[in-house]
């Protein structure tokens, strides 16, 4: 038995290797590593813009009876903030990490369809910039990120903003579908011959499942978006109740996509956490099969719960009751995962790097988000709290405290691999503490605001509501802390990227295949792929006396 096997791909499948790393080489690149990095830069760019929008919103809400910005502009701000953060920050960041890492993790040199990969990236990019172009074309979309009809129809929303929203999301949606197709085909066809499907690292497994979720969810959104675009541009009547259409149908289309989308954003973050926590607690993941199988359960159940976003629409108790039950059920597989992560930490020799600390922050804040989510599955509570700041707090605990913390954990973890340099741990800790404390300051109090009855999306509120003013001020101060934290993070990136490359191949003593390549990997990832017999190939190589159980 030889230690190494030759990889079966021919040389000509790779893009040309040249020393000139000019701009043209990046723009025309079909290499998964370059595209992954570009995805991450795109996400960072829009993260800064979306963050600035959030700061403006918080500044406006800091005190009552404020008129810092106009109501029209405020509507545009919260719509663009939501749309940007979900479709142009979290999606590209997760897809970018996956594009970069999936071929490395399965011992491949490329994605299955490199040009489709580039196409997906440029579609996402085009969609994002097109949406932002609306600011220069008479006004950005202003009907909220879920764009409810009939408010978003041309008789109520007369600027071109919503059209830009529709076209932009159709384009990014196509990009996401392309990425989903590519992930699934890559994992099915390009695995190193040793790697069976049940030996995938958890991140790769979750991206695999996520690929199917993307493929099933995005077409539903696209269909709705196309119908609304036809409504607005060709005077059709799909979602206009006054001429026979149905506004509820838009809600069904949007949320039958929207709820799976929550999991499309959560599953890859779960995958990152499932890589980071075992490595930094020097333990095998506790209950691999439960973490992996619960992913499938989440993906399948995700399509049977969307009506809980619409409890307030006025459906009957029968329908509400069933969806309340199924929404509760989907909490079970998620809870199983949290328990497994905690089980992995148990008795581990934990190394508190910034990456690990973000993972722990994820565990805590995502659980809070999950619990407030479960409270929404209870119909009467939903009726009371729907469209209040409680919802805002919940969505931010899930997307920011969950997905974004997961992404930060992943960035700090894989940064040495991607760039060959270590992000400063000292600045990283400043980033972490400021961000986590600021985050909880901002959004924990919003639960209370919601219970006090403050509706979401209001431009301002009377300053005589004393408690509202206090809580909103706390919230704004927290947002400022997060703003500073991101400035620290950017500074950290800036100084790190100027340092020389010093990272060794496997700085964290991790176990998955991407750490067997150079840091950063050569343009051709693997000259030869190590033999893989278990889920932790590098552990087996480092500990030949005590290998994991063979799986092939």
């Amino acid at each position: 038995m030889s230690l190494f096997i030759n990889i079966q791909e021919g040389e000509d499948q790779l893009p040309e290797v040249t020393s000139d790393k000019g701009r043209l080489l990046w723009i025309s690149s079909v290499d998964h590593k370059q595209l992954g990095i570009m995805y991450l830069w795109l996400a960072l760019f829009f993260f800064i813009i979306g963050g600035l929008e959030a700061m403006l919103i918080r500044a406006q809400l800091a005190v009552g009876d404020n008129d810092l910005i106009s109501p029209e502009f405020y509507n545009q701000l919260f719509t663009m903030h939501g749309t940007t953060m979900i479709f142009l920050v979290l999606m590209p960041a997760l897809i970018g990490l996956a594009t970069y890492l999936i071929p490395l993790m399965i011992g491949a040199n490329e994605m299955a369809f490199p040009r489709l990969n580039a196409f997906s990236f440029w579609m996402t990019c085009l969609g994002g910039f097109l949406m932002y172009f609306s600011f220069f074309a008479g006004g950005a979309p202003d009907a909220g990120w879920f764009n409810y009809a009939p408010l978003s129809e041309s008789n109520y929303s007369s600027t071109q903003g919503v059209d830009y929203y529709l076209v932009g999301l159709i384009l990014t949606g196509m990009g996401s579908i392309g990425a989903g197709l590519n992930f699934v085909t890559t994992i099915l066809t390009l695995r190193s011959p040793d790697i069976k499907l049940n030996m995938l690292p958890l991140f790769a497994w979750m991206i695999f499942i996520n690929g199917f979720l993307i493929l099933a969810a995005f077409p539903l959104l696209n269909a709705g978006l196309f119908m609304m675009l036809i409504d607005r541009q060709f005077d059709a009547h799909f979602f206009i109740p006054s001429s026979g259409g149905s506004a509820i149908l838009w809600q069904h289309f949007f949320w039958s996509f929207g709820h799976p989308e929550v999991y499309i954003l959560a599953l890859p973050a779960f995958g990152i956490i499932s890589e980071v926590i075992p490595v930094f607690s020097r333990n095998k993941i506790f209950g691999y099969k439960f973490v992996a199988a619960s992913t499938v359960a989440i993906a399948l159940l995700a399509f049977g719960v969307w009506v809980h976003h619409m409890f307030a629409v006025g459906m009957t108790n029968t329908v509400n009751g069933f969806f309340a039950a199924s929404s509760m059920l989907i909490g079970i597989p998620t809870g199983v995962k949290v328990i497994n992560w905690i089980g992995t930490l148990y008795k581990g020799s934990i190394r508190m790097t910034v990456s690990m600390m973000f993972a722990v922050a994820f565990l805590i804040d995502f659980t809070i988000g999950g619990l407030s989510g479960a409270s929404f599955a209870i119909v009467p509570i939903d009726w009371q709290l729907t469209d209040t700041y409680y919802v805002v707090a919940h969505i931010h605990y899930v997307f920011l405290g969950g997905t974004a913390f997961g992404i930060f954990a992943g960035i700090y973890y894989w940064f040495p691999k991607i760039s060959g340099r270590f992000l400063s741990e000292k600045l990283g800790k400043w980033h972490l503490w400021l961000f986590v404390i600021g985050f909880n300051f901002t959004f924990l109090v919003q639960h209370v605001l919601g219970i006090l009855g403050m509706p979401r999306r209001i431009y301002t509120y009377p300053s005589r509501f004393g408690s509202w003013e206090i809580f909103n001020m706390i919230s704004t101060l927290g947002a400022v802390m997060m703003f500073v934290a991101i400035a620290v993070f950017l500074w950290n990136l800036f100084i790190t990227l100027k340092k020389p490359r010093t990272a060794p191949k496997n700085p964290w003593e991790a176990w998955t295949l991407e750490w067997a390549t150079n840091s950063p990997p050569d343009l051709k990832n693997f000259e030869e792929v190590p033999r893989v017999h278990s889920r932790r190939p590098l552990w087996d190589l480092a500990n030949p006396d005590n290998p994991d159980k063979r799986l092939n």
Binding site: K196, L197, N198, Y288, K289, F290, A292, A293, S294, V296, A297, L300, L301, F303, G304, T316, N317, T318, V319, F322, F323, A325, S326, L329, K549, R550, L551, N552
Partner: protein, 281 residues
């Protein structure tokens, strides 16, 4: 209120059915060597069949309860067949080499056909039953209005139910075949079940949404309370039918998929082939 008398009146429990069930169970226990769990599965299967065909619950459909028909369909098409296949020992003659029926011998090769067959049976069975109910009760059910002397009333309901059960067995065969080697690959069976789940969801969606068509009659409680031992308004009944197919129907397949995957993750082809050699010896 639910009329409990209806359920405890002995007349409403089919005596012949009980005798038959007991005989079948006794025959199973006497003639087949099986594990305890398999015995339990078989008893549950027969009980479910009895409840669907011969208990007061089966009689409830005379009161035009659409949700009840749906429940029968779910039990017969989705639940009972899986339990039934789990209770059959792998050395039964039906699945052995002697029995020269290719469909049972190599269900792997026919899984697409089985899938479509059961999907057609599910949708067709649903609309036929809804039509019969509509003809018998004179109300619109699931958007179907059939007259009393329509051709549809000529079809016996038990025929539809039996066909559903057979279609359910054929559907479950590629995934839950008693002979493990004749099952389709685990990931394939997850996709097989998931696509079936999509089909169930669409039917459930359709049935649940049909409820909003009939507006006034359907929300009057008196309309059905007077007749049925289980009072439901037409609308609630209709929605219940749809939701039963949509939500629990899907969760059933999700559970099946997860249990298949859980054993697949630990699968080791080396060990598997070694045990195969041992058993061959």
């Amino acid at each position: 209120m639910i009329n409990t008398d209806f359920f405890i009146t002995p007349d409403n429990w089919s005596f012949a059915g009980i005798i038959l069930s007991v005989l079948v169970i006794a025959a199973y226990l006497l003639f087949l060597k099986t594990k305890t769990s398999q015995k339990a599965y078989f008893i549950v299967t027969v009980t479910l069949l009895y409840v669907s065909f011969g208990s007061p619950i089966a009689l409830l459909r005379d009161y035009g309860l659409h949700s009840l028909t749906m429940l029968q369909h779910i039990v017969l098409l989705m639940i009972a067949p899986i339990l039934f296949l789990k209770s059959i020992p792998s050395n039964t003659i039906l699945f052995s080499e002697k029995f020269k029926l290719n469909i049972l011998q190599q269900p792997k090769n026919y899984y697409l056909m089985f899938w479509w067959l059961s999907a057609v049976m599910m949708w067709g069975g649903h609309f036929l039953s809804a039509g019969i109910l509509s003809a018998e009760t004179g109300t619109a059910i699931c958007g179907i209005t059939a007259t009393k002397d329509s051709w549809i009333t000529a079809i016996p309901e038990s025929l539809i139910l039996s066909l559903l059960f057979i279609a359910g067995i054929l559907f479950a065969l590629p995934v839950f075949n008693p002979v493990k080697s004749k099952r389709i690959a685990p990931l394939k069976s997850v996709i097989y079940l998931f696509t079936a789940c999509v089909s169930c969801s669409l039917l459930g969606l359709y049935v649940a949404f049909s409820a909003s068509t009939d507006t006034l009659n359907s929300s009057l409680t008196a309309f059905t309370t007077l007749r049925s031992p289980v009072p439901l308004t037409l609308r609630a009944d209709q929605e219940l039918a749809g939701m039963l197919m949509w939500v629990p129907g899907c969760i059933l397949y999700v559970l099946a998929s997860v249990s298949i995957l859980l054993s697949w993750y630990e699968e080791n082809p080396v060990e598997k082939s070694e045990t195969a050699i041992h058993t061959a010896k």
